[in-house]
Amino acid sequence: MSSVQTQKQLNTYANEKYKYGFETFIESDKPEKGLNQGIIRYISAKKKEPQWMLDWRLKSYEKWKSMKDSTWANIEFPKINYQDIYYYSSPKGFEDRPKSLDEVDPKLLETYKKLGIPLEEQKVLAGVAVDVVFDSVSVVTTYKGELEKLGIIFCSISEAIQDHPDLIKKYLGSVIPPGDHSFSALNSAVFSDGSFVYIPENVHCPIELSTYFRINSEDTGQFERTLIIADKGSYVSYLEGCTAPQRDTNQLHAANVELIALDNAEIKYSTVQNWYPGDEDGKGGIYNFVTKRGLCKGKNSKISWTQVETGSAITWKYPSCILKGDNSVGEFYSVAITNNFQQADTGTKMTHIGKNTKSKIISKGISLGKSQNTYRGQVRFLKNAHNSRNYTQCDSLLVGNQCGAHTVPYIDSKNKSSIIEHEASTSKINEDQLYYCRQRGISHEDAVSLIVSGFCKQVLQNLPMEFAVEAQKLVSISLEGSVG
């Protein structure tokens, strides 16, 4: 197989236009651009928040002012002008939440239909409750009644602040303190909305909880805030997926997601991320600075992150686990695909604090076009983490010769009884494999898609069934030129 032909093929992939690039026309209700005390008071007032919440936001803002953006990631982008961004926008007239779908703007529903999200009955029948975030306000929550019977709380974070202040006060910011870094401080100051989940003791949440995020208003920063608490002996699987419409100016996205698992509880958090990556010349696209952190607070608890990252101009994201409870388990499964001028610096942090804690990291990076794909992972064993183990495997696949793959592992052990295994590989898409597939009559393009999905399988098979199908489709879309 000539590399010339492969290169030609790649150029076809690189020319693939973003398929979800459409825009819904809904009048936005938004204040002036810029970040100051005034806008924070505006956001808080708009949400009719209690004084303690406003104080928390203002304190976070003061922290943010004293901080600098971190620069250690392997990414390049122009300095963000925080005064040139809108910090709040909501589809008009949604302060009073609609009681049923009939009350929702039909254009909004149309958008979700285009994305293939069946919001109506079939979704409920399929067993998925959806908490849809459109711009910044949660619009519809379905299936709530069924969950309420089990004592499960699944609502927007704004609602939770009103209805469950004790849980919010106890847990918000307990895993990601506002002062952790500049993006967490920023999010804490101006977070717009997001999801709140509480699973009571010994309840096994019977359905996958799911939220779809979508950026829809020009120059609107998205500052989602999600908090999931699994009480003793409970289980929950949470799905997060997003696509965004095409536009020209860069959009800042700085979400914070906190997970807390108490004794014997398990949280499985799955993400398919497909924010607009920018065009063929690297213009536009989302800057995705996400902080996701899970705390295995109780003994025998488990937190598992699975992510498929295909979008964004910049992905800066390290879903992490703090393994505090004895015998707790943290897992991270990741597929990151970058194309054109995309930059991804993603990985995880596993911090072993308790005894007999275990963590597992499986990372698959695929680079195409002129993209840069970095795995950055930190594994730490603190001095009381006796008999703890980590297994890390990170594999990179290069498609073409204009892209880059980088692996940056940090290992820090203060406990002699802990064991760390690390495996890493970097390979180019194998011409022999392509030849073999094509000799069996499979076209060059399909062969690439086949080989890549095989490469990702270890991760994709960890996704919940219905999500895995969507992820598989996304992987193909990210790779294919004319097919898909």
């Binding site: 000539s2 030849y435 069996r440 009559g441 086949l450 095989g454 990702c456 399988k457």
Partner: protein, 245 residues
């Protein structure tokens, strides 16, 4: 003529491998090619399959009235050319069932036939595997991943049996096989052999030819056929090697 190779010269990295090579095969014939290591046998099979690492200096390959050199790898495969690889390639994470189904459907589509659905394909695959003595556990594994040499060769025969090529090229498929795997290979070939397909068998050993009687045996040396004849040549080589040629 079913397959006609005329005056074919091929090089790789400026080294001449096939030198004015010619071969003609009729429908329904089995041809065996024998020859010392490095004489160009594997190059021949890869050039027929369309491997792009080689440079064609001159000559032509016509198969089913089409100029093969104008077609790319997958087009040749869809036309009915199948190569059982000497060293089958591992494709981690890709299960054999969807892989082979995609192969078969690409061919059926090309022929304007209806594609097979997943369920009936899985049934057929299981049946064919059982007939070849291949355990059904092997069908849930990834293509060639972690297979022994013998298992890989059996997998090639399984694929050939499903795809039913009109020209099957077997590149040293019999090398390094235990008795059972050897039987799978010979059984598989004899089962699909008929008046409408042809086999080009590259081998070092007479033993395979005892089970699959070739119509012609060719001795290859320095990139071309230096002697052709019937099965008796193979015996001669088994006894005294290539030095007499």
């Amino acid at each position: 003529m079913f397959l006609s190779i005329k005056n074919l010269s091929v090089s790789i990295e400026d080294k001449l491998i096939l030198n004015d090579f010619s071969l003609e095969m009729n429908k329904g014939e089995v041809h065996a090619i024998m020859g010392p290591n490095g004489c160009g046998k594997s190059t021949l099979s890869n050039v027929i399959a369309g491997n792009e690492e080689y440079t064609i200096l001159k000559g032509e390959i016509v198969f089913k009235d089409q100029n093969l050199l104008d077609l790319n790898i997958e087009e040749r495969a869809q036309l009915g050319v199948f190569l059982a690889f000497q060293y089958p390639i591992e494709i981690p994470g890709v299960n054999i069932t969807p892989f082979l189904k995609a192969s078969l459907n690409a061919k059926l589509k090309k022929e304007g036939k209806e594609e097979v659905d997943a369920l009936s394909f899985a049934k057929e695959l299981k049946q064919v595997a059982t007939d070849l003595g291949i355990k059904s556990e092997m069908l849930s594994r990834s293509v060639n991943e972690g297979f022994s040499g013998g298992e890989k060769k059996r997998y090639e025969i399984l694929q050939m049996s499903i795809l039913k090529p009109s020209l099957a090229i077997l590149d040293e498929t019999d090398s390094g096989l235990d008795v059972d795997a050897f039987q799978t290979v010979t059984q598989g070939i004899n089962k699909i052999k008929n008046d409408n397909n042809s086999f080009l068998i590259i081998t070092h050993y007479q033993k395979l030819l005892d089970h699959i009687t070739p119509d012609f045996v060719h001795i290859m040396k320095d990139g071309k056929i230096i002697k052709s004849g019937d099965y008796s040549i193979a015996k001669l080589i088994e006894e005294s090697g290539y030095k007499n040629f």
